[in-house]
Symmetry: C2
Subunit: 313 residues, 2 copies
């Protein structure tokens, strides 16, 4: 049997701080239309797709508010939702969420081709720091601007147009944490969507990482975790020189063997497309990674019992 | 600061069923001596290094007994232990363990350059099946011949000759399970030793895997899990055509960035050597993979609460 979903990754070039929202929306809709032309029924956009990656600056509350969505959709982003429904294409998109209660999250949502919301996710693994680093030109202040995601890692059953597949969402740094993948793998996930903004240098202040190494890390985490959970994965960057800060590209679609089916070659707006036969997950899920047959949770106690590392004496 | 341990991987070619134990020992000692010549203080041998990979056959109890060690060391393997102590080289070695109580495990041990036992490990993630598959030329009967490891995943503090580093052990299939690595990572592991015998075809009976793909999987799992736990890893195969069954090679030494420092190029006895500066783990352990700062165990509940996958409705 085959259960093919044609999936697109809509890598975006940079969104500059001064870019108008409608211009960014127009670029996203252009990518959406290209995806529809190529027959895709799911398009994955990056993390914080509607704005620049603002956690790189120390901002006042007033400035910060500007980057957040008070509801989804709202008038500023509605054209994307409307056009997607017209074209019969669903999508994953990352955005900054401000709740009615005033909580801020780094969020994503998954929307079906008919416009129905399949699921919501709020980023659990926030990188960076709460306090700005005094001597850094760029900050990484996600821990300051966002609350930790409070929805856990929930997988969602997709609509018929997506072969009733099982879909998971992560955001950026989450993809480096095997616990996040395993939570979704334990729900039989067949396709993971993840958008990211990853600096082409070490945002934590280390000196030994460059864009080549960090692109390697990004792909390595996607390929291995896709393999170890017998799932497809679509990883999509916002890339290029954004407000003077270098973001890696390397968007890719990966199969359950961890093999790259297609990948972006630019640091700009670029669509990648692949057919994902969700039944290809069966081999891994029933043999090598048959969790029911092979996992031994009685020996995994530290994973939930402790947060940080504890070295032997 | 630097804390360099020069480490060797002693990939072995096949051990045929008819090979005499003393001839296998002689090959292992030759690799040990080469490692000493090159200044290594730790040599990693494969899983079940002293014998052929006997779980590929359905064996009688009498035949089976022949492959197990009743104590370690014992006269049949003592020459390796003696020569290692003489040379001042420590080692990891995999072997089939028969306990005084009659339990059988797929085990490994870590021996310091002065001959002291640093630690023992018993394989947790046994692949294959308990019952033979009726139509298969080769079986994978580890679940029949071995009890599941009962020692958990314990990391060990090494001796001064190994820079007092923190060492972990896994065996073969364990390396594909991120839970195993994370258990060790949560003990600040700096260097993982893992030996393997991995078929160059799908031992579970699937048809879509070949030696190239399976070698890719083996390296991918090592590279990504080393990166995600900010640790060095030394992965060592028994390789080649063993009793008519193809075993992959691909032995490698990987750094905390997931980069391959050196790798085997043959399917035969072959030594690979690399300097591992354990302080290179600090970058990852203190920044990107600072577990205390970034892990969120409150959302990892499924990992210990359930064994198999449970799909959404």
């Amino acid at each position: 049997m085959t259960r093919i979903v044609r999936v697109a990754g809509a890598q975006m070039g940079p969104n500059q701080r001064g870019d108008r929202r409608e211009d960014i929306l127009a670029r996203m809709i252009r990518l959406l239309e290209q995806a529809a032309d190529r027959g895709a029924s799911l398009v994955v956009f990056p993390e914080l797709a509607f704005t620049t990656f603002f956690p790189r600056w120390l901002l006042s509350d007033d400035e910060l508010t500007h980057y957040f969505e008070r509801s989804m959709p709202n008038p500023a982003v509605a054209p994307l939702f409307t056009r997607a429904r017209e074209l019969g294409v669903g999508f994953y998109v990352g955005y900054a969420e401000l709740t009615p209660e005033g909580q801020r999250f780094n969020s994503s949502m998954l929307v079906a081709p008919d416009g129905a919301v399949v699921g919501n996710y709020r980023k659990v693994h926030l990188p960076g720091s709460e306090q700005p680093r005094p001597d850094s030109h760029f900050q990484q202040l996600e821990k300051r601007y966002f609350a930790y995601g409070d929805l856990g890692f929930q997988a969602f059953r997709g609509p018929k147009a997506w072969q009733r597949g099982i879909f998971g969402m992560l955001i950026c740094n989450d993809r480096r944490w095997p616990e996040a993948w395993r939570e979704l793998g334990l729900q039989s996930m067949e396709l993971l969507c993840v958008g990211y903004n990853s600096a082409g240098y070490d945002p934590n202040g280390g000196s030994s990482e460059d864009a080549t190494l960090r692109t390697f890390h990004a792909k390595l985490a996607i390929q291995a975790n896709a393999y170890m959970n017998a799932t497809f994965a679509v990883a999509v960057a916002k890339a290029g020189n954004e407000d003077g800060s270098a973001l890696i590209g390397g968007s890719c679609i990966v199969d359950p063997n961890g093999l790259i089916l297609t990948e972006a070659t630019s640091l700009d707006d670029e669509l990648i497309v692949a057919d994902c036969d969700l039944d290809q997950c069966l081999q891994g899920k029933s043999k090598m990674f048959n969790f029911a047959a092979h996992r031994r949770p009685q020996h995994y106690g530290r994973i939930t019992a402790q947060v940080g590392a504890i070295a032997p004496a």
